[in-house]
């Protein structure tokens, strides 16, 4: 068998896609949240004229600019990964998912690229109204982009609305059914909320860092920490609820995935236990050292203590996903979700006691939990993507039949190149972001423009136009 460092071409192609997409998704997850956060900050500033909001807007705008750029360049890679490593999938599923992705380019990239320049540079040049509109359009653009791509992913999980042609291609029959496939609304809600929660914890972590460093009287620091903790308190429980809904939807359409998430190798006639821990042994088809709470899984999934739940013993071995990965990544995600909820509740208590800006243990917890959203998001994607295996289009096209006719060495070499280069390039970007975060937002916070640098997007920058037409150049405030 053709292998590279012991892996075959399909495994390497899966590793490459998993690596590049996981790396990529970190940036949109943050920019979806930050774009909305910035729009809210700007709106609050226009409404209240409170300087703290403007200060925070400028502070986070700089971080947003770098995050967005890294999202763009790592995203271009994704639009070619389908063809390079998954050419059979591209050929067969292209007629269904290709148009959705083309719509993503046409509807979302246009909005983002079009209004980013005004958002970043244009406050004084286009007036507050149009500037606010630009902020909203960028936020909407990131959400539209997520909507299309999640529709594609959801269709791969719960495909419908197509037929299979003579040449083996999937032929679209009903676009409405394809786009609004059964898992799409749940996945969209769960993922967008995850992006907001991830961003809230990053903002909260940065706020906590500066509170711990003695910036308690800085109104920017206070405001961002307070806003982030409200988000944690409100959105974390909402996210847990949405996750539960998503899980019930998955149980209906992809039961094997839920069985792997739960570690249910065996069927349970009268209520299935919720396993908290255990070592899945797929060879032996059992969960070793299992610690579980009786009947709780049935209660969560079926809302009935005694509801029967089928186990992996009802699924042929060659239809089962890799249980250990799904089992553990699911627990990482859920564990972090409840830790986020705990921070949110902790903050409510501190707020009630009037010690939100003084409670050092809350700040320490928020700081440690700063990157937790990113980990939870990646763990969640691993759960749902590995849980779809052994299919790439669930129930229809096997992953092992979807890859490109490539040699293992070709895929392996490019994988190594991606890993090395991504760590160098994005490591540098993260270092620049951390450098920005290390400074507390200050009175008269500088915007993107006064730092040495180019105008950084295809967006409209009316500055030059104003200069040419002889207007005074206002002191930099945006």
């Amino acid at each position: 068998m053709d292998t590279f460092l012991g892996f075959d071409a399909v495994t390497l192609a899966r590793m490459q896609f998993g690596f590049t997409v996981a790396f990529h998704f970190i940036f949109p997850a943050v920019s979806i949240g930050l774009a909305s956060f910035l729009a809210v900050l700007n709106a609050l500033y226009l409404w209240t004229r409170n300087e703290a909001y403007l200060r925070l807007f400028k502070y986070w705008l700089k971080i947003f600019a770098i995050t967005f750029a890294m999202g763009v360049v790592s995203g271009i890679t994704m639009s070619y990964q389908f063809g390079t490593n998954w050419s059979v999938f591209s050929d067969i599923a292209g007629p269904v998912i290709g148009p959705l992705m083309a719509y993503e380019v046409l509807t979302a990239f246009f909005l983002e690229a079009g209004f980013l320049g005004i958002m970043i540079f244009g406050r004084d040049k286009v007036g507050p109204g149009l500037h606010m509109f630009a902020c909203l359009m960028v936020a909407v653009g990131t959400a539209i982009s997520a909507t299309w791509i999640l529709s594609v992913n959801s269709w791969m999980q719960t495909p419908q609305g197509f037929s299979i042609g003579e040449n083996g291609q999937y032929l679209p029959e009903d676009w409405w059914a394809i786009i609004f496939n059964p898992s799409f609304p749940y996945r969209l809600a769960h993922t967008l909320t995850a992006a907001y929660l991830t961003t809230a914890f990053i903002v909260g972590g940065v706020g906590a860092w500066h509170l711990l460093r003695g910036q308690r009287e800085n109104p920017g620091v206070r405001t961002m920490f307070s806003m982030a903790m409200w988000m944690a308190a409100i959105v974390a429980p909402l996210q847990i609820f949405l996750g539960d809904m998503h899980g019930i939807n998955t149980l209906e359409h992809q039961p094997a995935k839920v069985m792997a998430m739960e570690g249910h190798f065996e069927s349970h006639e009268h209520g299935a236990p919720l396993y908290l821990f255990g070592i899945p042994d797929q060879e032996a088809q059992e969960l070793k050292y299992a610690i579980g709470i009786p009947k709780l899984s049935s209660l969560i999934l079926e809302h009935d203590l005694n509801a029967p739940l089928a186990g992996l013993d009802t699924i042929p071995r060659d239809e089962q996903p890799p249980v250990a990965i799904v089992f553990w990544s699911f627990r990482v995600m859920v564990g972090l979700g409840f830790a986020m909820l705990a921070v949110g509740l902790f903050s409510l208590w501190a707020r009630y006691r009037g010690r939100l800006y003084e409670a050092k243990w809350l700040h320490r917890a928020a700081l440690v939990m700063g990157p937790s959203g990113l980990v939870a998001v990646i763990a969640g994607w691993i759960t749902t993507e590995v849980g779809r295996q052994p299919y790439v289009v669930y129930g229809v096209l096997r992953t092992s039949e979807a890859h490109s006719p490539l040699g293992a060495s070709a895929v392996g070499t490019s994988l190594i190149a991606f890993v090395v280069i991504y760590f160098v390039i994005f490591g540098a970007g993260v270092a620049y972001i951390l450098k920005l975060m290390h400074h507390a937002p200050a009175l008269g916070e500088r915007g993107v423009r006064v730092e040495p640098g180019p105008i950084r997007t295809s967006g409209i920058n009316p500055d030059r136009q104003m200069r040419e037409s002889g207007h005074d150049i206002a002191p930099e405030t945006s």
Binding site: V73, A102, Y432, I460
Partner: protein
């Protein structure tokens, strides 16, 4: 099914248009990176990068549209071409990452050394991306082995003297476009040096065009018949004649003391004619000598669904892009740049 045939042609033209827009737009800003080694002063490099900083991001979006559109409208072609030129595509993507982040990081780097490193990333990324794009074009023209619905050739089939010739020609062509762009945007002493570059790369580009044109008919019988068979020759002959005419006008414009925009505009025309020549060689094939656009086409329902959106959205994108260029028109102030 009659309308589906029209749709397929329409999509082929729309994709060809996207790729052409990508080639000329990203062509000149990749060209800036290719020209970087000839300008060692930091102030020169700053102003060169600033001349494309407002537009490069949007320019690159056309590449995503080209790739995404090919996937959506001609999935079979996408599925065959990508594995066939796999290493070149991967190299191009990684090069574009280096080039793209250099625009951001170069200005945030605090030490001299890291600034130099991002300069090197900008140069290496630009040259590699241009070279890879030319090689992909060459590999496409020389033919791709297909069996059933999949690529059936070897891993290094794309690497031939012909594809390397195409790669080097594209590097020269992009550098030429970049020099013409700078000639239009800059003034003073640096403009003089840029113009010398433009002349040198003009000669290299013409050599590349002639060499690729002469080599193409020998790649397969199909090409010779297309170009030299009767009666097509009545339609094909004007293309090389026009290219020759434009080349002469370009040469004159590159020595004209004041008409700074003309070389860039004529450069775009030259690229458009070369593109037309490639179209004559390829039409109506999606994979030369193997698969036609109709065989590679997605079902009519897919193409129609997208076409409805594209027909509305592409003009909006064009209008916006045109406006962004209009906002940034004219000479760059070396003191202020754009910031």
């Amino acid at each position: 099914m009659f309308y589906s045939i029209d749709l397929t042609v329409a999509w082929a033209l729309l994709l060809a248009f996207s790729v052409f827009v990508y080639v000329v737009l990203d062509g000149f800003d990749l060209g800036i990176g290719i020209l970087y080694p000839f300008f060692r002063e930091k102030s020169d490099r700053d102003i060169m990068m600033n001349s494309v900083a407002p537009v490069w991001d949007g320019n690159e979006t056309w590449l995503v549209l080209g790739g995404g559109g090919l996937f959506a409208a001609f999935p079979l072609a996408y599925a065959v071409i990508m594995p066939a030129v796999y290493p070149a595509i991967i190299a191009m993507l990684l090069a574009l990452i280096f080039r793209g982040v250099a625009f951001e990081y170069r200005w945030r780097a605090s030490s001299r050394l890291s600034k130099r490193a991002w300069d090197a990333a900008f140069i290496g990324g630009s040259v590699t991306a241009a070279l890879a794009q030319g090689i992909i074009l060459g590999a496409f023209l020389q033919g791709i082995e297909v069996e059933g619905r999949a690529y059936a050739g070897g891993w290094w089939d794309w690497l031939t003297p012909f594809s390397i010739l195409c790669g080097v020609s594209v590097v020269a062509g992009y550098a030429f476009l970049g020099a013409c762009w700078l000639n239009m945007k800059l003034e003073g002493e640096i403009q003089h040096r840029v113009r010398v570059m433009a002349r040198a790369f003009f000669v290299a580009t013409i050599i590349g065009i002639v060499a690729v044109s002469l080599a193409t008919p020998f790649l397969g019988a199909g090409y010779a018949a297309r170009w030299f068979g009767w009666p097509q020759i009545a339609l094909t002959a004007p293309v090389p004649i026009l290219i020759g005419g434009i080349a002469l006008l370009l040469l004159r414009s590159l020595f004209h003391p004041t008409r700074d925009r003309l070389p860039f505009i004529l450069g775009l025309v030259l690229f458009a004619l070369c593109f037309l020549g490639l179209g004559i060689s390829i039409w109506p094939l999606a994979i030369p000598q193997e698969i036609t656009i109709w065989e590679a086409a997605a079902p009519a329902k897919s193409q129609l669904f997208m076409f409805v959106g594209a027909i509305v959205l592409v003009p909006i994108i064009l209008a916006y892009t045109g406006y962004a260029y209009w906002v940034f028109r004219g000479k760059l102030d070396p003191e202020k740049g754009y910031h």
